[in-house]
């Protein structure tokens, strides 16, 4: 690896300001620091620093997403072969390879487009390249339906990076979760292509589905009044849905990684789930009330804990709500923020007839309100400090 270090060290003067390749400075720096932790030492303040840095943090989050990604690939194959009725005759690896070939291009597009823009902005601003997109670039494919055209993935990613992040000043400054911005962009810009029943299961042009095939997600089915999913399938993830969101097991594995390393906030995870459970119970209580259409009544009556294993709830609670930048930043605020996400997600999911999924909108909404929550928590803190001063005076 010495030749690599030598290469980067030798080329360093060439990318400095005023030198010939100055426009490659951020790219050079990005790759160099990716391969080698810089030798820069502390010049002010503390002489020693923790070994953790943003690269370590972000790579752990990416690692925690790997189970969901791998399972998502498998499930894409599974759903495909199930739809064409060849599930029994197809082996595990064929299923996985089919999914891999479907999912990988989406991942590549997301990273290439996102990192490209990230590099360009870093160079324009004269900043170092930020690691934030390493996570966003993985989250975006995982929350896409598998049949999303690649050009849409590219546009959505570009929109998310530019308007979701860079306009605010880059990683650490954004108000909304960039990956969810990408998803919301597609949802509102291309509603015809992004909802309905045709996008969740990968089908070739010549594939003929079996008679019973609808392609609908369980939530869409439930909203239409027919509850016919198996709890085990929903828990293990063998249901149609966005690539990474279906398997509660894979998501729990990721959650374990985030909690063991302490990177994800357990307060947000717990409070989001608590909010979802409580809203689910409340809806259960109103399931028998008059005036509900039969479809709504069925949705209201669905056991509250089914909400946790269906749709994007688990994925959102573990990986999206916990984004430290767009979440509430005070400890008390985190409880409120997560709890309201849980409440809103289930509320939107069940009450809103147009779209039987509420996690994305709930998180984006609470991202918007997180600064307000923090503001009041901080005001409370200040008030307490003032009281202390008055007491001692």
């Amino acid at each position: 690896m010495k030749f690599l270090k030598d290469f980067f060290e030798k080329t360093e003067p060439l990318v400095q300001k005023g030198a010939r390749f100055h426009w490659l400075n951020s790219v050079h720096d990005g790759f160099f620091t990716f391969l080698f932790v810089p030798r820069s030492t502390s010049q002010t303040g503390s002489h020693i620093h923790d070994y953790i840095d943003l690269k370590r943090t972000m790579s752990i989050v990416v690692l925690s997403l790997v189970p969901a990604l791998l399972f998502g690939m498998y499930n894409v194959g599974f759903q495909h072969y199930k739809a064409i009725g060849e599930l029994v005759s197809t082996g595990f690896f064929s299923l996985f390879i089919y999914g891999l070939l479907k999912v990988l291009p989406i991942v590549v597009v997301s990273y290439v487009v996102g990192l490209g823009i990230e590099f360009a902005f870093a160079q324009m601003r004269g900043h170092e390249i930020n690691e934030g997109f390493l996570v966003s670039g993985m989250l975006i494919p995982l929350i896409m339906p598998v049949e999303t055209p690649l050009w849409m993935v590219a546009i959505a990613t570009a929109f998310a990076v530019v308007f979701g992040k860079e306009v605010f000043g880059g990683t650490g400054m954004n108000i909304w979760n960039p990956a969810l911005i990408a998803r919301a962009f597609l949802f509102f810009a291309y509603p015809a292509q992004m909802s309905g029943n045709a996008v969740w299961v990968s089908m070739g042009k010549t594939d003929v589905p079996v008679d019973s095939f609808t392609g609908a997600t369980p939530l869409a089915d439930i909203a239409a009044g027919n509850v016919n999913f198996s709890v085990a399938d929903a828990f293990f993830g063998l249901i149609p849905g966005s690539i990474g969101e279906t398997s509660t097991v894979a998501i729990l594995l990721g959650a374990a990684i985030l909690l063991i390393t302490g990177i994800g906030s357990w307060k947000i995870m717990v409070s989001t789930v608590a909010g979802g459970v409580i809203m689910g119970i409340i809806l259960n209580l109103f399931a028998g009330s008059t005036g509900l259409s039969p479809e709504s009544a069925a949705f209201f009556a669905m056991p509250f804990w089914h909400h946790l294993i269906l749709g994007g709830f688990a994925f959102g609670a573990i990986f999206m709500a916990t984004d430290p930048v767009s979440a509430a930043q005070t400890e008390k605020g985190k409880w409120i923020y997560g709890f309201l996400i849980g409440i809103l997600a289930i509320l939107i999911r069940v009450i809103n007839p147009a779209y039987p999924e509420g996690m994305m909108l709930a998180i984006l909404l609470m991202n918007t309100f997180a600064p307000l929550i923090d503001h009041y928590v901080i005001q409370g803190h200040i008030k307490r400090r003032l009281n202390r001063a008055k007491l001692s005076a």
Partner: protein
């Protein structure tokens, strides 16, 4: 036993190279120095010129805005040089020592028989006043002010910090004399923060409070916060235990005696131990022939690894420092360092394997281990700051130059050392201490 205050938040960084309880008396160094840069916010006015012959206790410079606050020579001899930096700012006044030189005579008296005014005058004239620091701000106490209380922490929890129980051996009576003097200067109390096992528990004229918990439990700022916090408009003073000895000696002997025991520590030290030397001694006198010979570069720190100052062998120790730490510089690239399992890498986070297999102690170098970023994680600082303060929001208020918020969020209660651990644990490598000092300077400038 007195009240015990148990602190949970904080972090003990277990470094290699703590000082053995062995004392070595270092011969008088050939040169010592006083550095105006050791005092934040000070504008020095020089009294001596190069080649002036001086005695121990002669005035070297004074504070332009408080001329009664003078700084005196820790050793007698000749003013060898006055080193200046940018815009002719005085960096250090170097004295080449002469063991035969005399000492300025001050009043020798039991402080219990003196009035507050007499004690104050003696401390000011002898140059011992600058050892008294004030909160808010951590700057030198103002002679005209009445502190609400005085706080002395008798134990240091910083990494590899000296053990004052050991240093105080045979000097407790002098310490008591110093306490008697200080007690005259406040209508309030003198609070002594002590650790679980402490030789200070029999000191009189003080209120004793025991603290347990990880660093920064030994910081005066943290102890003040838990005993009786500083509110807007209030002033308390803090003094280091060894500096109380200076005060005690002054009244017992009528002379200033800046003999100080320092701990020479760190993984790069051949034999970490205690050295008896004098204030402002040259770094060489401490480190020469005492460091390991290595192929890589070393960093010498006057003070501890969290708050100390980087010095070179030709420099001098800081005015308040009772510790010298030597660690590897760490100015080397590390291939994919952020991706390694990290069995040997100490981290307050749980992202390295060292968490599962903790070692007795670690070697940490001065590398930043990553690039500087914007604030991303929100819960790291809080875990290492045992105070009712929102550290990230305080820092953001400083960055936004929002004076009201700085006040409301508690800038009067903290100085750099209290938030040094925040800087250590920071994922984004934010320069917490320098931001905080900038904020304090802004507050001093705007509000006085």
């Amino acid at each position: 036993m007195s009240e015990v205050i148990k602190l949970k938040k904080g972090l003990d960084i277990k470094l290699k190279g703590s000082a053995e309880p062995v004392m070595e008396v270092v011969p008088v160094p050939s040169s010592v120095a006083l550095k105006p840069t050791d005092f934040p916010g000070l504008t020095p006015k020089l009294v001596v010129k190069q080649d002036d012959v001086i005695q121990v206790g002669d005035v070297i410079f004074y504070d332009k805005y408080h001329p009664e606050v003078v700084f005196t020579a820790p050793a007698g001899g000749k003013v060898a040089s006055i080193n200046r930096g940018e815009r002719r700012r005085i960096l250090e006044v170097v004295i080449s020592t002469d063991p035969g030189s005399g000492s300025v005579q001050f009043r020798q008296a039991d402080p219990q028989n003196l009035s507050a005014e007499e004690i104050k005058e003696q401390l000011l004239k002898s140059g011992l006043w600058p050892f008294i620091k004030r909160r808010p701000y951590g700057t030198i106490a103002l002679p005209q002010e009445q502190p609400r209380d005085i706080f002395i922490s008798t134990f240091d929890t910083a990494p590899l910090a000296p053990d004052y129980n050991f240093i105080m051996e045979g000097q407790l009576e002098t310490f008591q004399t110093g306490i008697h003097a200080l007690a005259r200067l406040t209508h309030g109390k003198i609070y002594l923060g002590v650790s679980k096992t402490s030789v200070f528990t029999n000191i009189k004229q003080v209120e004793i409070r025991q603290f347990t918990g990880p660093h920064p439990a030994g910081n005066a700022g943290v102890q003040i916060h838990h005993i009786s916090p500083v509110n807007k408009g209030e002033v308390v003073w803090t003094v280091n235990p060894q500096d109380v000895l200076f005060i005690g000696r002054l009244f017992e002997t009528g002379k200033v005696d800046f003999t100080r025991i320092i701990a020479l520590t760190g993984s790069e030290v051949e034999q970490p131990k205690y050295l008896q030397t004098i204030l402002g001694t040259s770094v060489t006198s401490i480190t020469e022939r005492r460091l390991k010979k290595t192929g890589y570069s070393q960093r010498i720190i006057s003070g501890n690894v969290l708050t100390g100052e980087k010095v070179k062998p030709q420099n001098f120790l800081g005015f308040y420092d009772a510790q010298v730490t030597v660690i590897p510089e760490g100015d080397e690239y590390e291939l994919l360092g952020w991706a390694t399992p990290g069995v040997k890498k100490f981290s307050a986070s749980r992202t390295y394997l060292s968490r599962l297999f903790p070692r007795k102690n670690y070697i940490l170098d001065a590398n930043l281990h990553g690039g500087e970023r914007a604030f991303v994680l929100s819960d790291q600082y809080r875990k290492v700051l045992p105070m009712d303060i929102l550290p990230v929001h305080l820092l953001k208020a400083i960055l936004a130059n929002d004076l009201d918020k700085m006040e409301q969020l508690g800038i009067y209660e903290v100085i750099e050392e209290d938030m040094a651990l925040c800087e250590f644990v920071c994922t984004s490598k934010i320069k917490v201490q320098s931001i905080l000092r900038n904020g304090i300077n802004t507050v001093i400038k705007e509000l006085g």
